[in-house]
């Protein structure tokens, strides 16, 4: 199968390309950008007039809800959402039920995800058994089964000795350790940022110190152990400053932010909107602004969807009883574009934060249109509006604080290994 994506503007941040060019694909591989390879005869084509052609998006956090939470979402529904969102590679956190702490579970997930129209799945293995923070998992076995890093999803390792050992052990094999920095005691019962809005609404607060104290612990242990640390879903300005300072002192640490946190803050809880119940919580406006700047200047390495489909029953309850999380796979691109346009950033810079930058964190060959790379491609119309509503969302989770809004940037086609996984050209 030979495909030609014609008349589009190719933006490939990994290779510094931003030009009008055709992309040539043969047998699932990029074989040319701008220059038609000798003897290439397309037997399929995609007209990308008025569109941007970029590498398929790489999402550092997407919950597929399998195994264990199939009533919330299935691999089929969420993979359809990924393709519709232009996401071709995704990392899934280990907080499934049971958690991804055994090679068999990881193999099963990888096997289930092996359909050609499904995004490439990169499981994050559990760092400790059952995510309980007591016993280490068989990391080497899990890595063999397909885990690319190890983490605890949103749970903490309370026992710092276990955390130290986990990081030492991971560092032995040079496995990256992904940690969410939130002190479980300071966050206990908390449902919102401990600030003006929580005070007004009478919601139990999670102070910024919950993030900074956990960060301090993780960063110090990273220094001790030399483990490769990736900090997931940073939420505060002070937290980001700590990471930047730690890097300056030689600690190897990358970090990401959830796309919601680039646009929303505590005030978006409004009158107790359960869709704005997120983990970590939406913080102050000054925090949000620092995160927006941090992603622009690269101190935050990548932005992810933090895709968390939640069923209606778990959201149509009072705010403090609502399950945290928002659906995001289909919003990652338009919300990243919105951030870029508001920050007046070049598109290439914005797209690098959802393509080559997260690919580098995952240590995978993705997020690039270089010749010889897998033909994971996203074609989108940057002008077309994407109305966010229950009908347009393919994810089984309809839970997003952006419901009812219209966002710019609509995916027209998604190719995974050269296979047209999503065709939105007619819509």
């Amino acid at each position: 199968m030979k495909i030609q994506i014609s008349n589009g503007r190719v933006i490939d941040p990994a290779n510094g390309i931003d030009q009008h060019a055709d992309v040539f694909i043969a047998d699932g591989i990029i074989v040319g950008v701008g220059k038609q390879p000798a003897g290439f005869e397309a037997n399929g084509s995609l007209d990308a007039s008025g569109c941007i052609v970029c590498p398929g998006l790489v999402d550092l956090s997407a919950r597929l809800r399998e195994p264990g939470y199939e009533y919330r979402a299935t691999l089929e529904s969420e993979m359809a959402a990924a393709a519709a969102g232009g996401v071709t590679s995704l990392a899934c956190p280990p907080d499934t039920d049971p958690p991804l702490d055994e090679p068999g579970l990881v193999e099963m997930l990888k096997h289930r995800a092996r359909l050609p129209e499904f995004a490439h799945v990169y499981p994050i293995g559990a760092l400790t058994e059952k995510l309980a923070g007591i016993n280490l998992t068989e990391m080497a076995e899990l890595a063999e089964a397909g885990c690319v890093a190890f983490g605890q999803a949103n749970t903490a390792i309370v026992d710092t000795q276990v955390l130290l050992r986990a990081m030492q052990y991971a560092a032995t094999f040079d496995f990256p350790v992904w940690m969410q920095a939130q002190d479980p005691f300071l966050a206990r019962l908390g449902v919102a940022h401990d600030g003006e809005v929580a005070t007004r609404l009478g919601l139990a607060g999670i102070p910024v110190a919950a993030e900074t104290i956990a960060l301090a612990t993780i960063l110090q242990l990273a220094r001790e152990t030399g483990a490769r640390i990736h900090l997931t879903r940073i939420s505060s300005a002070v937290g980001l400053e700590m990471i930047v300072a730690a890097r300056r002192s030689g600690i190897s640490a990358t970090c990401d932010v959830a796309v919601h946190h680039l646009h929303l803050c505590e005030h978006d809880i409004g009158y107790f909107d359960p869709h704005a119940r997120l983990d970590p919580p939406l913080r102050a406006q000054s925090d949000r602004d620092a995160l927006r700047r941090g992603l622009a200047d690269g101190s935050i390495n990548a932005v992810c969807s933090d895709h968390t489909p939640v069923d209606d029953d778990a959201k149509q309850v009072p705010f403090d009883e609502a399950e945290p999380g928002a659906t995001g796979l289909e919003l990652l691109l338009p919300l990243t574009l919105k951030w870029a346009s508001e920050m007046k950033l070049p598109l290439a810079q914005a797209l690098s934060r959802v393509t080559c930058d997260p690919a580098r964190i995952l240590g995978i060959e993705a997020g690039t249109l270089k010749i010889g790379a897998a033909a994971d491609v996203c074609v989108f119309d940057p002008q077309a509006a994407y109305p966010v509503n229950r009908a347009t969302l393919k994810s089984q989770g309809k839970n997003t604080p952006f419901l009812g809004l219209e966002l710019q940037g609509r995916v027209r086609g998604t190719l995974i290994d050269g296979h047209l996984a999503y065709d939105g050209s007619w819509s």
């Binding site: 007004r200 919601l203 607060g205 009158y271 107790f272 309850v317 009072p318 009883e321």
Partner: protein, 320 residues
């Protein structure tokens, strides 16, 4: 986003909070309550304003006092009152809050009086009723989590106006566990809207929410300083489970530092009034000599509370 307790004409649809409640609406409620207070003095205390209306008292959290006052208020307006203590019925069987609401709506409810342990629960109910085209059913928040207890806030305003005849010249002190208090929040918003000269909150740091100053109050940690020259002292109840632990070392120490004694009250204006939403913990937040003394207006608060709740219910659902 429209304030969900006002309808598109700006008329009161639900009573969910005193925050953002327009000044003229608050004053209209207080004005409407005055004749109801007089009715209570009569031999026949019943008015036909809500005859044929069904009011459901939905208490997802235990309360005897508030539920009783709502019940009396509704009965004095000739409404039919149905009391449901949900923590002992459906919720225990797994029915969701909104399922309960749907079922009771199907029984032709006209009003839900809701108490719930979660902040914002009445908003969820009001939003659900709006989304399902049942906006004719009114919701009165009878206390949600730490968020609001608007009828308590309003009856406190009624009490202050009764004794002080003004708001704009007053200095008001709120003493105690502001962090967990829905009453304090409702008082602060109402007092702010009514334009009192100064609101003070007096408490140890563990019992104050973050950035409480943003609500428009002055913070005092020393009760002797905080009570200096005030016109109104509003005491808050300290929950038993919070008297000992990481918030406070002991009830004795709390009383020593923050208990309202006659000596401390002497720092307030000579004609200061002392209020308490009840139930009181004598010897913890308030000395019996103050609770039973000449400055206390704690029992009149209870009486006024019925009149204010009658005013709220009749304004919402009493027809013209």
């Amino acid at each position: 986003m429209r304030n969900p307790q006002l309808n598109s004409q700006g008329k009161l649809q639900h009573l969910l909070t005193t925050e953002g409640l327009p000044r003229d609406v608050i004053l209209a409620i207080l004005d409407a309550a005055a004749p109801f207070a007089e009715v209570a003095e009569r031999e026949v205390k019943k008015l036909p304003l809500m005859r044929g209306k069904s009011i459901f008292n939905l208490f997802f959290e235990n309360s005897t006092r508030t539920r009783t006052t709502f019940e009396i208020a509704a009965k004095r307006l000739s409404a039919d009152v149905i009391n449901l203590n949900i923590n002992t019925s459906s919720a225990a069987k797994g029915e969701t809050l909104l399922d309960t609401i749907d079922n009771l709506s199907a029984m032709q409810a006209d009003m839900f009086v809701v108490r719930h342990a979660s902040s914002g629960a009445p908003y969820l109910i009001a939003g659900h009723l709006a989304a399902t085209g049942r906006e004719h059913i009114h919701v009165v928040n009878a206390g949600d989590g730490r968020h609001a207890h608007p009828t308590q806030g309003l009856l406190d305003m009624y009490t202050i106006r009764h004794y002080k005849r003004t708001f704009t010249e007053l200095t008001v002190a709120i003493v105690g566990d502001v962090l967990h208090s829905r009453v304090a929040r409702s008082q602060i918003h109402a007092l702010t809207t009514l334009g009192v000269a100064e609101i003070r909150v007096i408490a140890p740091r563990t019992l104050l929410p973050t950035d409480v100053e943003r609500l428009g109050v002055h913070v005092f940690h020393n009760i002797d300083e905080g009570l200096q020259g005030v016109d109104v002292v509003m005491m808050l109840r300290l929950q038993n489970e919070r008297m000992q632990g990481a918030l406070l070392p002991s009830p004795q120490e709390y009383f020593k530092s923050y208990g309202l004694t006659p000596e401390r009250l002497a720092r307030a204006k000579p004609d200061a009034i002392v209020m308490h939403p009840g139930p009181m913990n004598r010897g913890v937040e308030i000395d019996s000599a103050v609770a039973d003394g000449s400055h206390a207006v704690i029992l009149p608060q209870v009486t006024f509370g019925i009149a204010v709740r009658m005013a709220v219910m009749s304004m919402l659902a009493g027809g013209s």
